[in-house]
C-alpha cells in the first residue's frame, strides 16, 4: 500500500447525501478479478449517459475537477455494500482523500486498506470547503496527515481534522497489516488452544 503523508491537488465538490457504493461503482463492474481498471466505472451513471457519452454537467467531467485528487461530499458517504471496488475505483481515478460529515463503516475501513484518507468534519466545515472547491479560481487544497490540517485555496487559516491514531499510523507508514498480524502468530495459536479446550464444537464443523 502506498503511504499517505501529504496530498496536494484539486478538490471536487459532490453535494449529495447518502452516496451509496452502487452509485460509486455499479455491480456490473464487480465481475473483475483484478483491483485495477475500475476508474472507468467510477460514478458511471452520474458521469455518463445511456450511450456512454460524458454528462457535461457532472463535476468530474468539468475542468479542473477532471484532475481531482480530493472529493468533498455529503453525509453518510459510501453506504450500502462492502465492495472494496468502491475505494479501488476512486483510487484508480486518482482520488486519494474524501471529506464528508460522515461515512458508512465498511467503506471507511476499506479506504484505510487502500491508502485513501477519509476525513470526517462537522457539516458547517464541509459546507465551507464545498463552497471553496466550487468557487475558488484554483481549487487546490493540501491535506497534511502528519499535522492533520487541510490547507485551503483561499489562504484562510487551515482547518484541523482528526483521524484515529491506529489508522493514521497505518496510512503514514503504508503498513502491510497482514504481515503485522502474522508476527503475532503465537498469540493466535494460544487463543485457538484455549478456545479448542473450552468450545471444542467450534473445531468439528465444516
Amino acid at each position: 500500500m502506498q503511504p499517505f503523508t501529504t496530498l496536494t491537488g484539486i478538490a471536487a465538490p459532490l453535494p449529495l447525501i447518502n452516496v451509496d457504493t452502487d452509485k460509486i461503482i455499479p455491480a456490473h463492474w464487480l465481475k473483475t478479478i483484478k483491483r485495477t481498471g475500475l476508474g472507468a466505472g467510477l460514478f458511471e451513471a452520474l458521469r455518463f449517459d445511456g450511450d456512454g457519452r460524458e454528462r457535461p454537467d457532472f463535476v468530474l467531467n468539468r475542468e479542473p475537477y477532471r484532475r481531482a485528487v480530493i472529493l468533498i461530499a455529503g453525509d453518510n458517504f459510501g453506504c450500502g455494500s462492502s465492495r472494496e471496488h468502491a475505494p479501488w475505483a476512486l483510487l484508480d481515478f486518482g482520488i486519494r482523500c474524501v471529506i464528508a460529515p460522515s461515512f458508512a463503516d465498511i467503506f471507511h475501513n476499506n479506504c484505510y486498506k487502500n491508502g485513501i484518507l477519509p476525513i470526517t468534519l462537522p457539516q458547517d466545515q464541509v459546507d465551507l470547503l464545498m463552497k471553496e472547491a466550487e468557487t475558488a479560481a484554483d481549487p487546490t487544497f493540501t491535506v497534511d496527515l502528519e499535522a492533520q490540517l487541510i490547507h485551503r485555496p483561499t489562504g484562510n487559516a487551515p482547518l484541523p481534522f482528526r483521524v484515529d491514531p491506529a489508522n493514521r499510523a497505518k496510512l503514514l507508514q503504508g503498513l502491510d497489516e497482514i504481515g503485522t498480524t502474522l508476527a503475532k502468530v503465537a498469540a493466535i495459536d494460544a487463543f485457538e488452544a484455549r478456545q479448542r479446550a473450552a468450545q471444542p464444537w467450534l473445531y468439528r464443523a465444516a
Binding site: 447518502n18 455499479p26 455491480a27 473483475t32 453506504c79 504481515g179 493466535i188 464444537w201 464443523a205 465444516a206
Partner: protein, 466 residues
C-alpha cells in the same frame, strides 16, 4: 458488571488488545463468495501465504449464477471467469465449496444458517455487507472488504475497533398482515440509513422474541441498511430448535455442551447500551419504499411525500432527486402506483417461510397480465423443500417464473435485471439508483406485499387480499 450479548461475544474473541485502542479479534467462521474474494486469494498467492483454517471457511458462488437453465453453464464470460476463479482458488487453498450444481448451493447468507455453519456465540464474517443476517442466531456477524477477506484467510483474525452498542426494542403484538420485513423497514424509516453507523444493534422486545428464525434473519439482514455493520438477537429455544440436527451443527454430547454455553449468552439484566430506541408494534403497518434509500419508506396506506416538507436543504434535494428518478409525484397514494415486475427472493426474503407467505396470497389467483413476476429461492434446499410442499405448483399456476437459487435481481449481476424505467416490487434490501438494473425503479416490501402487488399489478395493502 452486567454485560450485553455483544460484550460477551466480543470479549470472548479478543486475541490481543493493542496499545492504539484496536483489538485483534478471532474469527470463528468465514463465508466466501466469488465477487469479493478473487483479489484476496491473489494477494495470498503473491505473498506466498496459506489459508490458516480452511475447516472454518465455506465458499459458494451466488451473485453471478444464472437462475434459469444451468445445464448450459454461465453465458456471460466475465461472470463465468469469476465463478471458475472461485472454484480454482478453493481447490488450490483447500476450502470447501458448494458448486453451482450442488443442491446445497444458494445465497451465502441462506446456506450458512441452513447448514449449521452459523452457530450462536460465534464471530462470523464474509466479504458481503448482508453478513449481518447471521446475527439472528446471537452471533457477531459483519461484512468486510476484500483486504479484510485476505486478512482473515491468512490469519483467522481481524484488527477491529470496538463498536458502540444500540438496543432497538419492539414491543407489543404485530397486527394482521405485518411481518418482520415491515418491522425492519419501519425501524430504518425511524432511525435513518446512517442511524446505526458505528454501532452493533441488538434487537429485543416481545415482537422479536416471537419471530421465527426466518423472520429474525430478515431483521438482522437489513441492519446494514440502517448503517449498523451487525445486528444481534439473543439466542433462545427457537434458535436452538433451528440449529439442532443441521449438517454442520455439533451432534449429541457436543450439542449439549454447546447448548450450555449458548444459554449464557443473552444480555444480563441491567446491561446498558450506548443508545436505546423503542418502537410499538401497534404503530407498524405494512411498509413500502417510495425513494432510492431504504429510509425512504412509508406505510402502504400513505402517500408519496412532498420534498417541501423535508427537514433540511440536503434532504429536500435528495428527495427531489429520488422522486425524479422513481418517476413519482408528491401526494400520490402509494396504492395507485403500478408495477411492471415483481421479484421475490434475496438473502433478505428468500427462505421457505417467505415462499409460504407468498403462496398463501397467490393461491387460486393469477399474476396480473401487465406484470412479469419471478421467484428465486434462496438455496437449492429451499427450492427442494418448497417443491416438496407443492408451493412451486401454486406459483406456476398463478403465472410466476420459478427459478434456480442465487442473488439474482437483488443486484442484477446475472442476467436478471430491470430494463430502464421498469418499476419493480421487490423483497430485496436496496432500492438504490440502478441497483436492480440501469434506471430501474425499486419498491422494497415484504414477500406477502410483493405477492399482493403481483396479482393486482400495483402496490397493494395485502390485508385487503387475505
Amino acid at each position: 458488571m452486567a454485560r450485553t450479548l455483544f460484550d460477551k461475544i466480543w470479549d470472548g474473541h479478543v486475541v490481543e488488545q493493542n496499545a492504539d485502542g484496536t483489538c485483534l479479534l478471532y474469527i470463528d467462521r468465514h463465508l466466501v463468495h466469488e465477487v469479493t474474494s478473487p483479489q484476496a486469494f491473489e494477494g495470498l498467492r503473491v505473498a506466498g501465504r496459506a489459508v490458516r483454517r480452511p475447516d472454518a471457511t465455506l465458499a459458494v458462488p451466488d451473485h453471478n449464477v444464472p437462475t434459469s437453465d444451468r445445464r448450459k453453464g454461465i453465458a456471460d464470460e466475465t461472470s463465468r471467469i469469476q465463478v471458475e476463479t472461485l472454484e480454482r482458488n478453493c481447490a488450490e487453498f483447500g476450502i470447501p465449496l458448494f458448486g453451482m450444481h450442488d443442491v446445497r448451493q444458494g445465497i451465502v447468507h441462506v446456506i450458512g444458517p441452513e447448514q449449521g455453519f452459523t452457530l450462536p456465540g460465534m464471530t462470523i464474517v464474509c466479504g458481503d455487507s448482508h453478513t449481518s443476517t447471521h446475527g439472528a442466531f446471537g452471533a457477531l456477524a459483519f461484512g468486510i472488504g476484500t483486504s479484510e477477506v485476505e486478512h482473515v484467510l491468512a490469519t483467522q483474525t481481524l484488527v477491529q475497533t470496538r463498536p458502540r452498542t444500540m438496543r432497538i426494542s419492539v414491543d407489543g403484538e404485530l397486527g394482521f398482515g405485518v411481518t418482520a420485513k415491515d418491522v425492519i423497514l419501519a425501524i430504518i424509516g425511524q432511525i435513518g440509513t446512517a442511524g446505526g453507523t458505528g454501532h452493533v444493534v441488538e434487537y429485543a422486545g416481545s415482537v422479536v422474541r416471537s419471530l421465527s428464525m426466518e423472520g429474525r434473519m430478515t431483521i438482522c439482514n437489513m441492519s446494514i441498511e440502517a448503517g449498523a455493520r451487525a445486528g444481534l438477537i439473543a439466542p433462545d429455544e427457537t434458535t436452538f430448535a433451528y440449529v439442532r440436527g443441521r449438517p454442520m451443527a455439533p451432534k449429541a454430547g457436543a450439542f449439549e455442551q454447546a447448548l450450555a454455553y449458548w444459554r449464557t449468552l443473552p444480555s444480563d439484566p441491567g446491561a446498558s447500551y450506548d443508545r436505546e430506541v423503542a418502537l410499538r408494534a401497534a404503530d407498524i403497518e405494512p411498509q413500502v419504499t417510495w425513494g432510492t434509500s431504504p429510509q425512504d419508506v412509508a406505510p402502504i396506506s400513505g402517500r408519496v411525500p412532498d420534498p417541501v416538507a423535508a427537514p433540511s436543504q440536503d434532504r429536500r434535494m435528495a428527495m427531489e432527486r429520488a422522486l425524479a428518478y422513481m418517476g413519482l409525484e408528491p401526494g400520490t397514494p402509494l396504492q395507485e402506483i403500478r408495477v411492471d415486475r415483481v421479484f421475490i427472493g434475496s438473502c433478505t426474503n428468500g427462505r421457505i417461510e417467505d415462499l409460504r407467505a407468498v403462496a398463501k396470497v397467490v393461491a387460486g389467483r393469477k399474476v396480473a397480465g401487465t406484470v412479469e413476476a419471478m421467484i428465486v429461492p434462496g438455496s437449492g434446499l429451499v427450492k427442494e423443500q418448497a417443491e416438496a410442499e407443492g408451493l412451486d405448483r401454486i406459483f406456476k399456476a398463478a403465472g410466476f417464473d420459478w427459478r434456480e437459487p442465487g442473488c439474482s435481481m437483488c443486484l442484477g449481476m446475472n442476467p436478471d435485471q430491470l430494463r430502464p424505467y421498469e418499476r419493480c416490487a421487490s423483497t430485496s434490501n436496496r432500492n438504490f439508483e440502478g441497483r436492480q438494473g440501469k434506471l430501474g425503479r425499486t419498491h422494497l416490501l415484504s414477500p406477502a406485499m410483493a405477492a399482493a402487488a403481483a396479482v393486482t399489478g400495483r402496490l397493494t395493502d395485502v390485508r385487503t387480499l387475505v
